[in-house]
């Protein structure tokens, strides 16, 4: 595989006659472009909110109780926002596009799991209903309701999956064939 192909993988033109109707709509070039812009906007904004605040971000990660205070927690607080920024820029330009979609798919899946675990923890410790649970998720968007964040992250997960599985990419740099 050539280096250029590895960096700017644009896929092959799909045979629309054989594809499922839902899949064709899901992978339509404008739908994929919309998903890319949405994900890029969300993750670039979120990254910029955290990129120079590793202490704050480490505290927010610590609140999930998944990682104790150690080097891994601090490395995560330092590196994660840069990965989000990198992926956001990749989605805009098309550089490392499929890899960025894969990274964001994993990120969103992990976010959903840890937010769900923390939500259940708050519900049992505070004795409050699911719809009333709200906290700062550490996502860069401040305090929000857990249910709202879970829906948002699920939408972003679907967008990442659509981009990752798209057979062909348009609107990329350099332009695909």
């Amino acid at each position: 595989m050539e280096l250029k192909e590895l960096l700017f993988e644009t896929g092959t033109v799909p045979d629309h006659r054989t594809g499922q109707r839902s899949s064709r709509l899901f992978h339509h070039r404008y739908v994929i472009l919309g998903f890319r812009l949405l994900l890029a906007g969300v993750f670039i904004y979120a990254a910029l909110q955290k990129i120079d605040k590793p202490r704050l971000f480490a505290d927010e990660i610590r609140m999930y109780g998944v990682l104790s205070e150690n080097a891994l927690l601090y490395l995560m607080a330092i590196i994660l926002p840069w990965m989000e920024l990198f992926c956001g820029i990749s989605l805009l330009t098309g550089f490392f596009l499929r890899g960025s979609a894969a990274v964001l798919l994993v990120f969103n899946a992990v976010f959903i799991v840890v937010i769900a675990i923390r939500t259940v923890g708050i519900m049992s410790s505070e004795g409050i209903a699911f719809r009333d649970v709200y906290f700062d998720c550490g996502c860069g968007f401040g305090i929000t309701y857990a249910w709202k964040k879970l829906i948002e992250d699920s939408i972003l997960l679907v967008c990442s999956l659509a981009i990752l599985t798209a057979p062909v990419y348009r609107f990329v740099l350099p332009p695909g064939k």
Binding site: M1, E5, L6, L7, E9, I51, D52, K53, P54, R55, L56, A58, D59, E69, N70, A71, Y74, L75, A77, I78, I79, P81, W82, M83, L85, F86, C87, S90, F96, R98, G99, S100, A102, V103, L164
Partner: protein
């Protein structure tokens, strides 16, 4: 035994074929992780807000009710103890943000936003002495920024740190006077 070997062989071939189809994705994911990590660590090393990932965090305990003779820790103090220390001229440090500080703070307090430590430290150092107590506070009993900041300062050699855990919440509830505006040492 033969069937088991066959199953292992099939599984191995399946994993290899998946890996082969995914190799460009794996390459890109590894590249994204490596490039981001290098850029992040270099940025962190030069940023005034950077943190040392290998530091021994929370090595110093913060205790509300230390036993007799207990030392080598940060003590939590009550409002009445805080008032006595304030009267005696102890350094009072507000660990909240500059915006919260401007809205209202405990009279005489100086700002040291925990999350912007690098920005404030040079201006704060003249106020601190390893032999003199300094009291730190933040928004209220639920925030832990004052404790985290006290631990950072303790590790830097300022071992007489005290934490007023009630913070602004208890201060305001008690109807004590507030000071507003800038007392920002970095400006």
């Amino acid at each position: 035994m033969c069937l088991r070997g066959e199953l292992i062989s099939i599984s191995f071939r399946f994993i290899l074929s998946v890996m082969n189809r995914m190799k460009h994705i794996i390459f890109q994911v590894v590249a994204i992780t490596l490039i981001s990590s290098i850029v992040a660590l270099v940025f962190n090393a030069f940023s005034p807000n950077g943190i040392n990932p290998l530091r021994k965090a929370n090595a110093v305990a913060v205790r509300e009710d230390p036993g007799p003779g207990e030392s080598g820790m940060i003590r939590v103090i009550t409002l009445s103890e805080f008032l006595v220390l304030q009267e005696s001229g102890a350094v009072i440090i507000d660990a909240r943000t500059a915006a919260q500080f401007r809205k209202g703070h405990i009279p005489g307090a100086i700002l040291l936003d925990y999350y912007q430590m690098g920005y404030y430290m040079d201006h704060i150092l003249p106020y601190l002495s390893p032999d003199e107590p300094a009291v730190l506070y933040c928004a209220g009993p639920l925030c832990d920024d004052s404790e985290l900041l006290a631990q950072e300062l303790y590790n830097m050699g300022y071992m007489k740190m005290l934490v007023f855990k009630g913070g602004m919440e208890e201060w305001e509830k008690s109807g004590l006077p507030l000071e507003t505006g800038d007392n920002d040492p970095a400006e």
